[in-house]
Symmetry: C2
Subunit: 397 residues, 2 copies
């Protein structure tokens, strides 16, 4: 990388997909200093799927890594083990060491598609947090005022609404902040709602006489329908989604979100994105821009060929009216209602959603065009189902 | 003690000087059950003088002790050692082990005048609090909501006024509450402003599956002038005050407070106090009732004879216009201004107070009646000073 490329990369790190940086000037200096920075990201080892909204911060980490900085992942096993505060009745640990290991594997599989894990560090925060004494915690707590905590949006909204906030929740920023001390973080990244938590690291580092990290939170990405991403609304694209499924969902992105999706979920250059943006403004059919978006994103997670195949399928299906070449196959046992299979496989999010789809006539036999109107329908032979306008599933007996 | 006496004693425990009991019915049952109760009182080992307002809760403990219950003192050495939150710059421990030992001796000397210490227990809370892990503290914190904490008067007033509340302060009730678990408290006592803290013990005991203590807070006693007791206002009577001084200050109690002082600071029976109250209502000179109050209180802390002597002195002085027999003596070096001596010995609270007294002509040579009008006056020979209407001090060169 020559110095012009490097400078360009730094500028992009500081702007693209960035919601807020604190303190931007300091981070800029650190990035230009030539020092190898320790860039921290904490995560909960819950084993959840990573959607392309959550992946924004991972893509940002990748950019730091490409500049030669060290990515340090903090596995939040401490809070995972001491139990879920919302589970008041059973005070058992939320996750066993075994669970955490399993979930970490799941996490690494997904993150490994973005970050070069061979160059990254992973640390378990129970290593240091379990050793803190009450005296030390009380001292850390002295660094925060109740007013500061309540000013945090998440707490403020709940306080104003009269919803209970557990005192325990006030201790979490202390934990996250102490992690920064333990691993000597220079920069901490977080999602759009993490500003308060990542800033806590600065306070605690200062308390221990260490240099204060800079913090960066990335932008929020809406779901394909413009609402907040939520599995129960079916507007989420996971990084593990099958190519054709991922492609199909991206083709359903609301037109006014196309450019934001280009900036936040692809690695297209600024020049390319600005050009596509201009085409849209000049009256280009949004469908064509979305095809580009969809191909790029599928390529990022499944390789360039998968992107091209998904595109070819899409053209074959929707421009020629047929069934795509690559359709997800689901093997079912005899006499199991389709409903149960689709919900189990998370193709349909709930019984309510299923009933709505059936009532709308949105479930069809893709080969015959026959609408399935019985919500308890059982398929007796191999069938390709069409769900809504763009999704296909092959039921194999 | 026969059963009628015992019943009377229980009734008195539950009412006299009591601000609030939670839950009264439960405590009543415990007291009648015949079980030996563990009655807790926590204190900070600061070495401070105990005034007769703070002694109210100690007199209440004495009543429990007379019924055969076990008094358990918690020495708050944990917080004392981890440092004063208000001292943000120097993070050193507030008190050393040696300081704490010395202060505990001071405390025991004073408390020993009220409680039979040979039958009481003393425990240091650092013993258990220093061993708690972050995981355990987070669990305890789960038992409290931020809203509950902020509802506490002390916090509410500050929050409403926009005054900073450190997160650390929210952790103190957890500590005090855990003390109750550690010593298996059945009842916890506290001063009038301690309701929230003593109630915290119930929450934490419940968390650990232990029976919940009952709590009792005692009434507040105003200073002799009706304002809040404060050393800087000179309206405080300490349990260690010399007999003549104590007697003199009690004679200055505002008339409308006499009966409250009788209830809260003496061991006179209810019948006696009600009779004295009636005398006042029937037009008796309040001075005569105050003499009884003063004699009783002096007797409690210095013995019956000291009470009688102080009374005789008072009669000799004020009813015959002379100088009392027993006058506090202060030995001073040559050429030291009286002002400095009196402030150092805490006879006058401040330079401002001293100047006010001089300006009012309230400082006199008691033998000659000469008014001292020079605020920087130096005494050259042994002199009895009269300060205000009732106090005498002998300056000895």
């Amino acid at each position: 990388m020559n110095s012009t490329e490097k400078e360009q990369k730094i500028n992009e790190i500081l702007t693209r997909g960035v919601e807020e940086i604190f303190i931007k000037k300091d981070l800029e200096e650190k990035l230009r200093s030539g020092k190898t920075l320790r860039v921290k990201l904490g995560f909960d080892p819950t084993g959840a799927k990573i959607h392309i909204g959550r992946a924004i911060v991972l893509r940002k980490l990748k950019a730091f890594q490409e500049l030669g900085h060290t990515i340090v992942f903090i596995v939040g096993d401490f809070t995972a083990k001491i139990g879920d505060p919302s589970d008041k009745l059973e005070k058992r640990p939320m996750l066993s060491d075994e669970d955490i290991q399993k979930n970490l594997t799941t996490y690494k599989e997904q993150v490994g598609k973005i970050i070069d894990l061979s160059k990254a560090e992973f640390h378990y925060n129970a290593t240091w947090l379990s050793k803190l004494t009450f005296a030390e915690i009380a001292e850390l707590a002295e660094s925060f005022s109740v007013q500061q905590m309540l000013a945090r949006r998440n707490f403020k909204d709940r306080y104003d609404a009269g919803t209970e906030i557990s005192l325990r929740e006030f201790l979490y920023p202390l934990m996250q902040g102490y992690d920064s001390v333990a691993i000597n973080s220079d920069v901490e990244l977080g999602g759009f709602d993490q500003l308060f938590n990542v800033k806590a690291g600065r306070v605690i580092q200062k308390h221990y006489g260490k240099p204060e990290q800079n913090v960066m939170v990335t932008q929020m990405l809406e779901g394909i329908d413009g609402r907040k991403m939520s599995t129960s609304w079916g507007n989420v694209i996971n990084t593990t989604d099958e190519p054709s499924d991922m492609y199909g969902k991206l083709m359903a992105v609301r037109d006014d979100l196309i450019v934001k999706y280009l900036w936040l979920t692809t690695e297209l250059s600024s020049d390319d994105i600005n050009a596509l943006d201009q085409q849209l403004k000049d009256g280009e059919n949004p469908r064509n821009i979305k095809m580009r978006l969809a191909r790029e994103v599928v390529a990022l997670y499944h390789g360039a060929k998968a992107g091209e195949d998904a595109e070819a399928d899409f053209i074959g299906t929707f421009q020629k009216g047929g069934i795509p070449e690559h359709v997800e196959e689901i093997v079912v046992e005899n006499n199991v209602p389709i409903k149960d299979v689709l919900i189990k496989k998370e193709i349909v999010s709930s019984g309510t959603e299923w009933r709505r789809l059936v009532e709308e006539g949105a479930i069809k036999n893709a080969e015959t065009g026959e609408i399935i109107s019985d919500p308890f329908c059982v398929v007796k032979e191999n069938t390709v189902l069409k769900i809504g306008k763009k999704r296909f599933v092959k039921i194999v007996i």
